[in-house]
Structures are given as structure tokens and as C-alpha cells.
Amino acid sequence: MVYDLTSLLIQLLSGLSRAMMLFLLASGLSLIFGVMNILNFAHATLWMLAGYLTYTLFQFFTATMGESGWWLLPSTFLATAALFALGCLIEFVLIRRMYDRELPEQLLLTFALILIIGDVIKMIWGVDNLRIYMPIEPMEFFDSFVNPYSFVVIGVGVAVAAGLWWFLHHTRYGKTIRAAVHSREMVSALGIRIGAMYTAVFGLGVAVAAMSAGVFLPIVPIGLGIDMDLIVQCFAVVVIGGFGSILGTFVASIIVGVVYSFSVLIWPDGALAIIFVILVAVLIWRPWGLFGTELRS
């Protein structure tokens, strides 16, 4: 294979869109862990559920009101709202009981959710892979053709990253959440209802993931089991970036996404192995992640 500039650029583009998907998933994971110290194993499964939901809504809209790619927007919006509600419900009913428990028990509970949600999806949607076909013309790009939708995806990713950053740094709620990452006691002392905040953060984290599921449906076919592969990669991203750091998660997503898509060129079977080599290296060198802060005991 000859690696000319064009093919490298295209690979970079695919790496970046993969990076955005990882970021949108991992940022919620990181935020939830940073604030509540809960590692939500079911995060990617909820993402997957959002994908199925978006698909069904999209089919419904196109069937009843005519074919149009734009139906993806309301479908994604509705699915995101539904998953926000579901996220809040899960926090309120289940996760809330786990804050004082040990890590393995938390993992076990969220893993039970993976199994349950996965089977519910199987009952409703069956085992076939689903995807949305968008009538988009390939675009010429440096003597080659790319799907212009990739730019949409990257744009959404950057916009969400910027939005999250703005929310966390420039709004009262956001600042409170960041304060909670630093010190829970302080936030409680300020008279903020910590329980309500936890519910909202969990819902928000799930909602960000849910939205990305809709956005990616035209280029990533969704199917059972995809959550299992994604969640471990999301862990890798969160750890590389540093727990609770949005900037770190963003940078780590780009590293993992881009490295992956170039590794696929060179060594297709071992691309994921390379991701874990990076993870191992970061954990040995800086266990608290690239953008995390060292904990002093």
C-alpha cells in the first residue's frame, strides 16, 4: 500500500470522527466518575439503546411524514430527552444506593444493567445490525471522495466539547459540578442539594452519549455487542485523559481515535492492542492521566 498524502488525510478524517464518538461517550463517563466516583459500565449500553431509539423514531417520521434526512434531528432530540430521563431514573433508583459501596459492587450493578438492557433491546429490535442511510453525495476532497457527513460529526463533537467546557466553567451549575469534583464536603456545605445534583449529572452524562448515538447513526451501524467493545475503549480514553477532566478526555479521544485509524492502516488486527499499549504506558508513567492531577496521600 502506498501512503500518499490524500490517503493519510482521509485516514486522519476517519480518526477524528472516531475520536469524536469516543469523546462524546467518554466525557459523560468521566464526568460521572469525577463527581460521584461511580464507574458506569452501562454507559455505552445506554448509548446503544439511544441509537436504537433514534432509529425507530427516524423510521416512524420517514414512514408517516415522508423521506428526509432531516428527520434525524428531531429523532435524536427525542431519544436524547428520553435517555436523560432514563439516566435520572437509574441514578435515583439504583446508583444512589451504591455510593458507599466498593468498586466491584458498583461494577457489578452497572454490569447487570448492561445485561438487562442488552436483552431488552434484543427482545424489541432483534439481533440485526441497524443503520440509517442518508442520501448524501460524496464530496471531492484533495483528489479523493469523502463522506461530507464526517465533517458534521467532527463539528458536533467540537461543539459539544466547547459547550460542555463553557457549561462547566461559566455557568453556576457547571461551577458547582466542578467544585463537587474537587470536594464534595464543600458543595454540601454551600447548601446545595447534592442528591439532586448527582441525579442531574448522571442524566446529563447519559444524555451527551445518547445524542452522539443519533449523530453517528448514519455512519456507524448499530448492533448488539458494540457497547462491550466501546466501553473498554472509553475506559482507556478516560484514564488516559485523567478522571473528571473534560479537556483531558477530549485530548485523549483524539489521541486514541487518530492512533487507531492509522494503526488500522499498518496492522489491522493489532490496532486495538496499540490503544492498550498507550493505556498501559500512561498508567505506568502517570496513573492520574495526562490532564489529571496527582493525588497526594
Binding site: 469525577g34 466491584p104 461494577l107 445485561l115 473528571g244 477532566s245 492520574w288
Partner: protein, 344 residues
């Protein structure tokens, strides 16, 4: 800049009340011995799997229940052992046509040092961390090994796995292999039982309870953790060595995080605070799997609900339910005025 939340320290309940483990063990031993009396080969097949996975979960619990750290990539050592045995058996099969008894035992024995060596090399890095970082680094190494096995086609046959392993004639019989497994697992558990009550066992408990104090009592914390990690890896390797001859094949999935998760499930369902807990967990999990999947396609839903129920309503695992019930009975019998002292 956001800061990572402090890693949650893992302090499992102490493996207390060994008499409960002993009672359960004394009940289980004859039960396992008599399983072949059940009609058909299927129960024996299931019981073999229960024993192998039970031993694997026990090896995980050496790190979790006793030392208080989570090895989230523990399947790596199970899988390494399974592959070591499988590759040697396959080699002998190709060279000599069939595996003889000596070759068979050698293939199985080789798994233990191979897994121990793997655990030594990987553990060297892992024991520098604790809490969630320990869990994440062990997960990362586990996945790394998984992908190496997965993609190194020329050596491991990648995704196809290694098929057609044929143990010598005696061990091809389901019943014989079952008793062989029973003996191996029972011996391993006896050794682990001794370790759990040895000074080293208490050194581990000290690390779990308070690693800082342990260092200031004169314990070399990292070295102790490493020794235990290698021990746990060796036992996992022994469990893995039984897998190939049992299933007649091995596949990369044996090293993946699902398999690691299995050990965590079993330990927590049975009760990580009890010596025999992981075996009880294996009986529940493997036993249910074997029979539930015959009636429904929705196995994940079933086990998911069970796990949810255990986590919410039986936090210390099923054995702690039993333990609490027995204690309440005892208190009722002894009257309420009795002084309650915990057992040493």
C-alpha cells in the same frame, strides 16, 4: 482544571468466620463426589465447569478478598495457562500423533509457571498502583494480552482458537476427567486454605486493612503484593490448564475482560469475604447458566436480574445471607442477653 476524585479504597469484608466456609466445604465435598450419580453426562459436564471456573474465581479472590485490590484482567493468567497447555498438547499431537500420559501431564503442569511468569512481569508494574488504578492497569494489560493472542495468528490461530485437543484415552471419558478435575481443584483449594490461615494470609489482610500501617510494621508492601499476584496468577493458570482438555479447544475470549468479569461475579455473588465464596458463586452462576439457557434465550436478562438482586439485597454475597441467618438463629437460641463477640 478538574481533578480526579480520590480512588476509592477497596476494603472487602474480612474473610471472617472460617467455620462457615469449612461447613460449606464439608457439605460440598461429598456432594461433588456424588454428582456422577445423577442421570446423564450433562450434570458431570456442568460440575466440571463449576470446579474449573470456581478455582479461577478463588484465585481472583486471593487478590480481592484477601489483599483488597481488584485484578480486572485476571483472565489473562487463566488464558495464558489454557494456551500454554493447548499449544504444547497441539505440538505433541502434531509431532507424535497423539498425546501420551506424560505429555498430557507435562502440558498441564507447564501452565502454572507460564501463568506465574506472566503475572510476575505484569504484576511488577501493577503493584505500584492501588484502588481504581490497580484495576485499570490490570484491565489494560489483560486486554493487551487478549489482543496479542487475538492477532498473532501464526502462533495462536487468532480468533479461530486452537481446536481438536485430544487428551489421552483415560481422560477422554467425561467421568474420569471430572474426578481428575475434582482432585486437582480440591488439592489447590487445600493449599489455598492453608495459605489463607498462614502468616502470609494475615500479611495480606494487613495490606487490605491499612497498607500504610503495614509498611510501618515492617512489611515490604509492593513485594508482598507482587508475591500474592504471582500466586494468584499461578492458581489461575492451573485452572486454565484444565480448560483446554475439558473443552477440547481454547479461544482468545478466555483472556478477555468478560472472563475476568466472571471471576468478579462469582466472588461477589458467593461472598468475597468468605474463603469458599467464589466456589459458591461458581455453582450459582455456572449452574444457572447450564440449565437456564435450555429454557430461554434471555440468559443475560435472567442473570442480570439475579446480580441486581444480590448487589441490592445481599451485599456480602449469598454466604453472608446464610451467615446472618445462622447468627440470628444462634442469638435466638442463646437468648438476647448474651455478649456478642466476633470470632478471631
Amino acid at each position: 482544571m478538574a481533578m480526579p476524585a480520590p480512588a476509592k479504597e477497596t476494603t472487602a469484608k474480612p474473610p471472617g468466620q472460617p467455620d462457615l466456609s469449612l461447613c460449606v466445604g464439608l457439605f460440598l465435598a461429598p456432594a461433588f463426589f456424588l454428582v456422577p450419580l445423577l442421570p446423564g453426562e450433562y450434570p458431570v459436564y456442568v460440575a466440571t465447569e463449576i470446579l474449573i471456573l470456581g478455582l479461577f474465581a478463588m484465585s481472583f479472590n486471593l487478590i480481592y478478598g484477601y489483599m483488597g485490590q481488584i485484578s480486572f484482567g485476571h483472565a489473562a493468567y487463566f488464558g495464558l495457562g489454557a494456551y500454554a497447555t493447548a499449544l504444547l498438547m497441539q505440538y505433541l499431537q502434531q509431532e507424535t500423533g497423539a498425546v501420551g500420559y506424560f505429555g498430557f501431564f507435562l502440558s498441564m503442569l507447564i501452565a502454572v509457571p507460564v501463568s506465574a511468569l506472566g503475572a510476575l512481569i505484569i504484576g511488577f508494574f501493577i503493584v505500584r498502583l492501588t484502588g481504581i488504578y490497580f484495576a485499570m492497569l490490570s484491565l489494560a494489560f489483560g486486554e493487551l494480552l487478549f489482543y496479542i493472542v487475538f492477532s498473532w495468528y501464526s502462533f495462536t490461530k487468532g480468533d479461530d482458537g486452537i481446536q481438536g485437543l485430544l487428551p489421552p484415552a483415560f481422560f477422554r471419558d467425561v467421568y474420569n476427567f471430572y474426578y481428575f478435575t475434582l482432585i486437582v481443584v480440591a488439592c489447590a483449594l487445600l493449599v489455598m486454605w492453608r495459605i489463607s490461615r498462614s502468616p502470609f494470609g494475615y500479611t495480606l489482610r494487613m495490606l487490605r486493612e491499612n497498607a500504610q500501617r503495614a509498611a510501618f510494621v515492617g512489611i515490604n508492601v509492593r513485594l508482598t503484593m507482587l508475591v500474592n499476584f504471582v500466586l494468584a496468577g499461578a492458581f489461575a493458570g492451573l485452572a486454565g490448564s484444565l480448560w483446554g482438555p475439558f473443552q477440547r479447544s481454547v479461544s482468545p475470549a478466555l483472556l478477555g475482560w468478560h472472563e475476568s468479569g466472571l471471576a468478579i461475579f462469582m466472588s461477589l455473588i458467593g461472598g468475597a469475604g468468605y474463603f469458599i465464596g467464589p466456589v459458591v458463586g461458581s455453582i450459582v452462576y455456572t449452574g444457572l447458566y447450564a440449565y437456564v439457557t435450555r429454557f430461554t434465550d434471555y440468559w443475560p436478562l435472567t442473570i442480570g436480574v439475579i446480580i441486581l438482586a444480590v448487589v441490592l439485597f445481599a451485599p456480602g454475597g449469598l454466604l453472608s445471607l446464610l451467615d446472618n441467618a445462622l447468627r440470628r438463629l444462634r442469638e435466638k437460641r442463646d437468648g438476647d442477653g448474651e455478649r456478642r463477640e466476633r470470632k478471631p
